[in-house]
Amino acid sequence: MTAKFNFLITIVFSGLFLWSCSSDDSDIKDETKPEITINYNEGFPQSCTELVRGETYHFRAMVTDDMELASYSLDIHNNFDHHTHDDQGAQCELDPIKQAVNPMIYMENFSIENGLTSYEIDITVTIPNDVDAGDYHCAYSVTDKTGWQSRTSIDIKIIE
């Protein structure tokens, strides 16, 4: 019985060994997220920036990826209820909590042409004249071809 047992164990282990060797660990897999930053001279908006209603701005951020970039998006939404804060480390002075009447909602998606590993986002946004002034968030996100995503969020203000 012991001989049979040893035999079986040997078979099982060599089987497992072969399985693990035959699998293609060597295939290159993308395990790196893209990166996104506004921390350069032209990066916009910086934390606590005040945007004036009726004005037009260039929203700019640098995105990079080790393999290939895919898409990005820009989302501007109100923070009248102070539901969250940005990830830039800055503490902006927030207005008192208030109810939204006609808040600005900006949500747009864009794709990046194939094959790029570095790209500068440049979106032209005009702040409508009729939107509520107050605290807002500006959130950028970017994906790479694999489906990894990075986000960054900035506290801003819209003023009259």
Binding site: I9, V12, A70, H83, T84, N109
Partner: protein
């Protein structure tokens, strides 16, 4: 003739023992025990004794009495003799199927006395024993599929905060934890709807697909769990792909009995206080049981005062993971009848739990709030969820000739509400209440099977499983649609006893299912760009009215060989899973996960083929086992993160891909001395997607290579009031997990040490001793991350050091 008892605490049962003798010695922890002396000659002695049932005081036939080189089996009257024993001290193990084994030290010398041994019944005596006369252990050996039997003793000795956390010590079983009080089962790396949980013969149906809630089952009062690792659709239908956690009906109480227990638990890490009390009683034919459980716990503590998630930093107040407190209240009652040729029991149970979620991030979304979370550690503020699971199950068996007919009927209602602070998202204005998601699901089940032993060799089983689900939704968030689902499955299999050692089992199953999803429209308008450049405000449709049919053939074939010391098993099986309503028809934004989830109406039932091998070798002091598997999915349903956006949220799409998996478990046990036992186990799963958008990636929530080394030391001597003292040390070693798929993070390796002290106490009643357990989890307060924890994604480490004290007082 003396009447005499060795233990001053023992009561009437003890005084019944008539003793001839001069002296005695305390040899047993459990029961009355005394000695007679019949010396034969100077050097050769005769050991005489008898074995009785501790409860009924009836003799036990066929008990094994074993010591080094000595062996006897008790007769019909429970008596045994061992001849020609030389003088000395012997350690005897007295064991019998269905009883807790007992180890005694016996001095064989001229003053030798007769032995009276009473064994207490273990919970492994189940109804099946009455029918087949086989133990669960033997049955498990004969079954070609890889199974693990979990006894009440194991549960008691290893109890953790939730049922699945208690079971994760079993190699191949792990959990997805959501905070301290909830967890979901994972078998060999697969969880959610790829593991079936069955209780009292009826599949537990809740919102298993969800990320953030656990299993709504009271872990107290469970006597026996049968865990199947491997494909089990043949017997359990859809979802039993990775395995089954089958919580079996408790055994019928003995005639004219009344038993009860109170369990009290206190824990330091989350300031938990829990109490559970259960009773069971039987007259002649009628029996009943009841149980009440209440647990209340505060926020749990982690070994860090700062959580760094991406570029956010959350400061923790006194290491408390803000707002993770919770409570749980469960009630269960059952009534049953045992007739000449039938047995029936109806179970009523209700499980209620309310748990807070970590307040600084809801899903992946970082939140700030005006709620003063740090004012107390026991309050449950937003976000939280509450869930109520009500169940009625009837199990009825008829025994007629060679037929055993089993009927299981069930109704269950699962009601879950998720509340969070209302916040505007995208085009959704700020809702006016906190009720984000409500799920209300009714499930009706009817299972019938006939086990027909048409000759000595064949045990043919055929049956039908039917189930109707009705799922309703509410709240301002949308994830899955309202739906109705009906499934029916027919199966037949034969268990062939080719010889005493060789058993074969094979069968086929056909399932048919129809799912009817209901349309859902947003309650707020969204701005949509039209092709002519204009925009319009539309109440977007998120789910459609659709009726979809599915069918599937599954089956399995296996063989087991039971040698003297070695057991071999080989099984090949095909199992399946019907697509879920959310996988088919969802079309909604999950803001907290920053994703837009898109269903796919073209999904096919998931089909999985698996080959399992299990080899177990055991001698008296040594045991070894290996259970490798190879698994192939034709079309694994996977929520794939795409590179595209919808309303600035990343689109995740349900897709199907071929998946290859291989892995298994190793287990090893060695009794170094009579008192010290070392056990070690390891588990590993390797997964690869073989095609599709994530080709060469692993699957989400892949558990890393992990091992557990346990030492179990049984003290020979009692210490003060502590009897039958056991010390246990569990050392868990887990490798780093580098196999990830978006949006996961790699997780570092860790080692954690847990220590336990277990003992019996003569607290109120010497006949029924109190079990005491003192446990120290995460002894060194190690900061580590569990790759399969819900909070892993936001970089929350596992719980810190925890001291728990548990008392189980029988009455």
């Amino acid at each position: 003739m003396y009447r005499f008892c060795h233990d001053p605490f023992l009561g009437d049962n003890c005084s019944n023992l008539i003793v001839f003798i001069m002296f005695h010695k305390t040899l047993s922890f459990w029961l009355c025990f005394s000695l007679y002396s019949i010396a034969f000659s100077q050097n050769s002695f005769l050991i005489k004794g008898s074995v009785i049932n501790a409860n009924t005081l009836q003799p036990i036939e066929g008990a094994n009495i074993i010591s080094k080189g000595l062996f006897a089996i008790s007769s019909v009257t429970g008596e045994f003799t061992i001849k020609n024993v030389t003088e000395g001290t012997y350690t005897f193990t007295i064991s019998h199927i269905g009883y807790n084994p007992k180890t005694l030290m016996i001095e064989v010398d001229p003053k030798m006395e007769n032995l009276h041994i009473s064994l207490s019944e273990s919970t492994t005596t189940l109804k099946e024993i009455e029918v087949h006369g086989k133990t669960k252990k033997r049955e498990a050996k004969e079954l070609p599929i890889t199974t693990v039997q979990v006894s009440k003793e194991f549960m008691d000795a290893n109890r953790e905060n939730s049922l699945m956390q208690t079971l994760k010590k079993i190699p191949g079983v792990s959990t997805i934890n959501i905070g301290s009080g909830q967890s979901k089962p994972v078998i060999r790396g697969l969880g959610f709807n790829r593991v079936s949980v069955v209780q009292n013969g009826v599949k537990h149906e809740a919102q298993q697909w969800g990320n953030d809630h656990g299993l709504e089952i009271d872990q107290y009062g469970i006597e026996n769990i049968h865990i199947i690792k491997g494909p089990a659709s043949l017997l359990y239908g859809s979802d039993a792909i990775a395995g089954v956690v089958d919580i079996q009906s408790p055994k019928t109480p003995s005639v004219n009995s009344f038993n009860g227990e109170v369990n009290v638990l206190a824990e330091s890490n989350n300031d938990l206080l829990g109490v559970s009390t259960g009773i069971e009683s039987r007259k002649e034919k009628w029996f009943y049981r009841g149980r009440l459980t209440y647990r209340d716990y505060g926020d749990y503590k982690v070994p860090t005062d700062k959580i760094r998630y991406e570029s956010y930093i959350f400061d923790l107040h006194r290491n408390h993971l803000r707002n993770t407190a919770g409570n749980e209240a469960n009630a269960a009652f059952s009534i049953g009848y045992v007739g000449e040729s039938f047995k029936s029991e109806t179970f009523f149970s209700n499980v209620y739990a309310k748990n807070g979620f970590f307040a600084n991030a809801h899903g992946l979304e970082v939140r700030t709030s005006t709620i003063d979370y740090d004012s107390g550690n026991r309050d449950i503020d937003l976000p939280f969820h509450k869930v109520n699971h009500f169940k009625i199950v009837n199990n009825t068996s008829f025994y007629k000739g060679e037929h055993t007919i089993q009927l299981d009927l069930g109704y269950q209602n699962n009601h879950r509400e998720e509340h969070s602070e209302p916040v505007p998202h995208g085009y959704m204005p700020k809702p006016d209440n906190s009720k984000e998601r409500v799920f209300d699901k009714n499930t009706f089940s009817l299972n019938a099977k006939d086990a027909f032993k048409f000759n000595e060799k064949h045990n043919l089983v055929f049956g039908i499983n039917t189930e109707f689900q009705n799922n309703n939704i509410g709240g301002w968030g949308f994830l899955i649609p309202k739906y109705n689902r009906f499934t029916v499955g027919f199966f037949a299999y034969d268990h062939i006893e080719a010889s005493e050692k060789v058993h074969l089992q094979g069968g086929l199953r056909y399932d048919f299912g129809v799912i009817n999803t209901k349309a859902y429209y947003d309650w707020y308008p969204s701005t949509v760009n039209n092709s002519d450049g204009s925009t319009s405000n539309v109440y977007l449709q998120r789910a459609q009215n659709k009726t979809l049919n599915f069918n599937n053939i599954s089956g399995s074939l296996g063989v087991s060989y039971i040698g003297d010391k070695t057991t071999y098993k080989l099984n090949i099986g095909k199992s399946f899973r019907m697509p879920l309503a959310n996988e088919l028809a969802s079309d909604g934004v999950n803001y907290h996960m920053y994703r837009y989830e898109r269903g796919n109406l073209n999904l096919n039932p998931e089909e999985s083929y698996q080959l399992d091998i299990d080899v177990g070798y055991s001698t008296k002091n040594f045991s070894f086992g290996i259970s490798p598997f190879v698994n192939f999915f034709e079309n694994f349903i996977y929520l794939n993160p795409t590179p595209n956006y919808y309303e600035t949220l990343q689109i995740y799409e349900y897709t199907q891909s071929k998946v290859f998996r291989v892995g298994g478990e190793l287990r090893f046990g060695y009794a170094l001395t009579e008192n010290l036992r070392i056990d070690a186990s390891a588990e590993y799963v390797y997964s690869r997607q073989r095609n599709g958008p994530k080709k060469n990636f692993t699957l989400p929530f892949s558990p890393p290579l992990s091992g557990l080394v346990s030492a179990n030391y049984q003290l020979k001597k009692d210490l003060l009031w502590f009897k039958n003292i056991r010390l246990m040390a569990d050392y868990r070693l887990t490798a780093k997990q580098e196999e990830i798929v978006p949006p996961e993070e790699k997780t570092e390796s860790f080692q954690v040490l847990n220590l336990s002290f277990l003992s019996n106490l003569n607290l109120f009643n010497s006949e029924k001793q109190t079990d005491l357990r003192f446990k120290l989890n995460n002894v060194f307060d190690t900061k580590y991350f569990n790759h399969t924890s819900f909070y892993r994604l936001i970089d929350v480490p596992e719980a810190g050091r925890n001291i728990s004290l548990s008392l189980t007082i029988p009455f």
